[in-house]
């Protein structure tokens, strides 16, 4: 990954602080098109801050971010970027919206201000629901579904605008362990079959390393960045230095 040609995302020397202590220190990272990258790290390692910078939600203090070859400060083409948050945790399950309405809301930016969804847009919604195997649930209220099903709906909401890059923030929080594996398999399918570049921010190191293509370990600084096999070869001492305490990597072989 050192000599990436035309990376889809390029971070150059990013530093960020909320008060006086830096939460990100000189982070540089290049993510090639078609990668499935897991950004892992302990609590307070700056993962969420990095993600918010990548989504343009926080203003850059130091360094530079390029998305699709364009400086993030000038980047306007946000429909190319899908975002899936920790919905199962923060989601208001009493919200009276059907699965179809939720997925259609993913087209809001693409349809444009003062315009209405066309028949073609509605077909796109159905196609996105089909690709996450949730078409049968389109008329159900979102709150009636399980955590895993809800998260599939949120993936469909991102897919509907046909993004080239999808950013996922701890998407398996609140999803029961039985469905986590299926969820990652679905992400793998999106990456391999639809060619979507995925950036996954997660704690769930053991489960993801057999699914992702690349791993970046963040603990304020970028301690490791390479392909998943290299990460799996790291010994306990190297992992402990990243996490700041003893770590043993357990691979889930489902």
């Amino acid at each position: 990954m050192d000599n990436v040609v035309n990376p889809i995302v390029k971070l150059e020397d990013i530093s960020y602080k909320y008060t006086k202590d830096l939460v990100l220190e000189h982070v540089s990272l290049e993510i090639p098109k078609g990668a499935f990258l897991a950004i892992v790290g302990p609590n307070g390692s700056g993962k969420s801050t990095l993600l918010k910078l990548l989504l343009g939600l926080f203003k850059l203090q130091k360094g530079k971010i390029e998305i699709f070859g364009e400086d993030i400060r000038r980047f306007k083409d946000w429909q190319k970027v899908g975002f899936v948050s920790q919905k199962a945790n923060s989601f208001n399950s009493g919200f009276p919206a059907t699965v179809f309405e939720v997925v259609q809301s993913g087209l809001t930016k693409k349809i444009g201000l003062f315009k209405f969804a066309s028949k073609e847009d509605k077909q796109k919604v159905k196609k996105a629901l089909e690709s996450v195997d949730m078409l049968d649930y389109q008329s159900r209220n979102i709150g009636e579904l399980s955590g895993g099903q809800q998260q599939r709906v949120f993936i469909a909401r991102s897919l509907v605008s046909e993004p080239e890059l999808m950013i996922l923030d701890e998407p398996t929080v609140g999803v029961d362990s039985k469905n986590v594996h299926q969820f990652y398999e679905m992400l793998e399918m999106l990456n391999e079959k639809l060619g979507i570049t995925l950036i996954l921010v997660t704690h769930d190191v053991g489960t993801v390393t057999d699914k992702v293509t690349h791993v970046a370990c963040l603990n304020k600084k970028l301690h490791f960045h390479g392909d998943a096999c290299e990460y799996n070869d790291l010994d306990e001492g190297e992992l402990s230095s990243i996490y700041g305490h003893g770590v043993q990597l357990l691979n889930h072989n489902h």
Partner: protein, 277 residues
């Protein structure tokens, strides 16, 4: 009563205005409720009261202003209050709900001062507090109709953006839509609807017409559009039924409208329980 509506202009005004706000208040209320901003309507109605009191004071103090329609000043205060709320939410980022009691007590404080300076008002103020069947003039009706057209047009055109902002604010921000401008337009729409509704339902009860029909439809609506339809339907039943009772029993319409809305809410809770037993 039907013959009364055909015969008397004030009844026509009251019923036509009632039909407009019966749809408009729940329509805006759907977004207010799902965004957990129900208290904002209470705060803005108290600011509108300050506007009304100020306008009545001006009328009393200056003969040349006797023709001034308090609806305009009430609207201006309500919209001004909405802008202050937004400003305060920005100042207290971690305690955004503080903006509501600040604006509410500020509005009430101003109202009390204006009423004291005027040494009390006549029945006009009573009408504004609890609603009145006879107080709606033809020019009020036209102003409220204009507000109705503007608000429904804006809500229709910005429906998908408002839905996204209500359902998932974080996603709305990340998607790149102009969420600040949309939120701002929405708050101004809420302020306008509150001011437009107060002649019929009264300042103290206006927030109930925004929340009760929505609370009732939340019990069983499938999807967001269905919730809008049920909310508007319940709003219309409450207003038309409330005005009918008000006229026949000589009661303030604010009370009768709210009581019908509460009855609909109780019935919808019972229906929901019965359905899910």
């Amino acid at each position: 009563m039907i013959s009364g509506i055909l015969q008397f202009e004030f009844l026509q005004n009251a019923f036509l205005t009632g039909i407009i706000i019966g749809a408009l208040a729940p329509l805006v209320g759907v977004f207010v409720v799902v965004r957990r901003m129900s208290m904002i309507s209470d705060a803005l109605s108290h600011v509108a009261l300050a506007g009304i009191a100020f306008s009545l004071l001006l009328q009393k103090s200056f003969l040349s202003l006797a023709g001034l329609n308090p609806l305009y000043i009430g609207m201006a205060f309500s919209v001004g209050g909405s802008l202050f709320i937004e400003k305060l939410r920005g100042v207290y980022k971690h305690y955004q709900e503080l903006a509501i009691p600040i604006i509410m007590s500020g509005g009430m404080g101003l109202s009390v001062i204006f009423i004291s300076i005027a040494d009390g008002f006549n029945t006009d103020l009573y009408g504004y507090l609890f609603g009145s069947v006879s107080a709606v003039s033809r020019s009020d009706l036209y102003v409220i109709l204009a507000v109705g057209i503007v608000v429904s047009l804006m809500l229709t055109l910005l429906y998908k953006e408002l839905f996204l902002l209500s359902f998932d604010e974080e996603h709305a921000k990340a998607s790149g839509i102009p969420y600040k401008a949309i939120h701002f337009i929405f708050i101004v729409m809420v302020a306008l609807v509150i001011a437009a509704s107060m002649k019929i339902i009264g300042i103290l009860l206006v927030s109930s017409l925004m929340t009760l029909p929505v609370a009732a439809s939340l019990r069983f609506a499938k999807g967001f559009k269905q919730m809008i339809v049920y909310s508007v339907l319940f709003g219309e039943i409450s207003v038309v039924g409330g005005l009918f009772l008000s006229y026949n029993l000589n009661l303030a319409p604010g009370g009768t409208i709210v009581i019908i809305a509460v009855l609909i809410l109780i019935l919808s809770i019972l229906f929901d329980k019965w359905k899910n037993r």
